[in-house]
Symmetry: C2
Subunit: 237 residues, 2 copies
DNA sequence: GCTCCCAAATTCCTATAGGATCTACGATCA
DNA sequence: TGATCGTAGATCCTATAGGAATTTGGGAGC
């Protein structure tokens, strides 16, 4: 490795000529996390250390380190002497557990946000809702993924507006949207999500804690009902 | 490394002559996790990869991997080119957040357990309460740690009795007792904890969901009040 | 006495090498 | 024909080596 450490053309990480501010293991971690969250790496797929090392043109050391972190994140599973596997697709039990936890956490989250959200945060959430673009009938997979990402962004912004870091961490750890977005594609998207977000935000904006909680409950209950139909169906993509 | 891989006398992991069933990195992870949870490694302490490598008589590779996992677990923090540091002691803000999250999660947890706990699970929790031994005045640090461990065990058993794996994971992720037990030592222990556990369990046993939730709320509120006094005080050990 | 600079030591980070383990395939035997 | 065994190749796991980055200590200058 050259003494001037730049991420130059030809390196595994694109062509930005900038001094390296992070270490390779961190960058590998982000790349792999992104691929896992986006399901570029299919749930259940083998992740070969040597294969990734060849693909990304780095040694196994940062790969191992990144995979170790991702294991603790719950995004991959490891079996000794067998290697790593992407965490499996959500099953019916986990789906129910996930919504059960969300129905416990997120109405409270909305209620807390109704107490303390700043006008700036509220405006930010309005922007997020305005930017949501439900996929049109016949749109490709990517637009469903983008919509799920926008959906997630609203929920994260709401959690952030509570000012309770542990709430943000707890919800992020559940990774609802990364787990659910493939189900969106299967059953299509209704416009209801955006309207439901708006109702949550309206209650937050008028500092109506109970209303915010109730609106979030309604959103999640409806979301669960919408997605549940997709659980038993094979992928259509 | 010999073809017959045994953890023989003289290896870093004690003197049990048994075939190796796990890999070194996993074992290092458990050792370090234990030291961090038990505060054998002080909060805020540097964790030198080379130092640990020398101490544990293994190469840096499994150390790095174990530390990477522990980073994602939230037990250590890493700064590029500086290395790893044990996560700091709980501060007042985190303390408040922690109880806020617990007051959201654990009453619901108790309520769910009241719905579905098996008689066997209830008996198990009774045993856990019976085994709790509050430290006597003048007892050493270790008995406080043991009590905190018993305290934690009851909460974990209750979460397990809900049958909701995500609830168990979510509470484990918060690691309340590992974070709080040093505060127990500072302010001493009242007998109230055991009585409060008993009240929770009585409500669970008679399937009183609301009663279980209320008893858990009361327990956590009292626990918070008991421990809050210790937060601003310097360590006395 | 304080500050700055430089060199040496230490530590972090990654690549490489080698051994252990697993998997797949072909050959042999009953 | 099916089961078993052996071998080769692939992959996982750990140790070691070397370079990069940071820290530490000592000396010089103000």
């Amino acid at each position: 490795m050259a003494a001037v450490q730049t991420t130059s053309v030809g390196s595994p990480f694109g062509s930005v000529n900038a001094p390296r501010r992070s270490v390779l293991a961190d960058e590998i971690y982000e790349i792999l996390k992104s691929k896992l969250m986006d399901n570029v790496v299919e749930p259940g797929a083998r992740l070969s250390i040597d294969g990734l090392s060849r693909d990304l043109k780095v040694s196994a050391t940062p790969i191992r380190e990144a995979l170790a972190r991702l294991e603790s994140d719950g995004l991959v599973t490891k079996k000794a002497h067998h290697g790593y596997t992407a965490a499996p697709l959500i099953d019916a039990r986990t789906f129910e557990e996930l919504f059960r936890m969300r129905l416990l956490l997120e109405p409270a989250c909305a209620s807390w946000a109704a107490q303390v959200a700043t006008p700036r945060q509220i405006t930010g959430m309005e922007d997020l809702i305005a930017e949501m673009k439900p996929p049109l009938s016949g749109d490709g997979y990517e637009s469903y993924k983008a919509f799920a990402s926008q959906d997630a962004a609203f929920h994260v912004a709401l959690a952030t507006a509570t000012g309770v870091g542990l709430m943000v961490e707890t919800l992020e750890r559940l990774r609802p949207h990364a787990q659910l977005y493939r189900l969106y594609y299967t059953i299509g998207i209704a416009d209801d999500t955006m309207r439901e977000h708006e109702r949550v935000l309206e209650a937050v904006t008028r500092r109506d804690e109970a209303g915010a909680a109730q609106a979030m409950s309604a959103h999640l209950t409806a979301s669960r009902a919408r997605l549940a139909g997709a659980l038993g169906q094979p992928e259509t993509d």
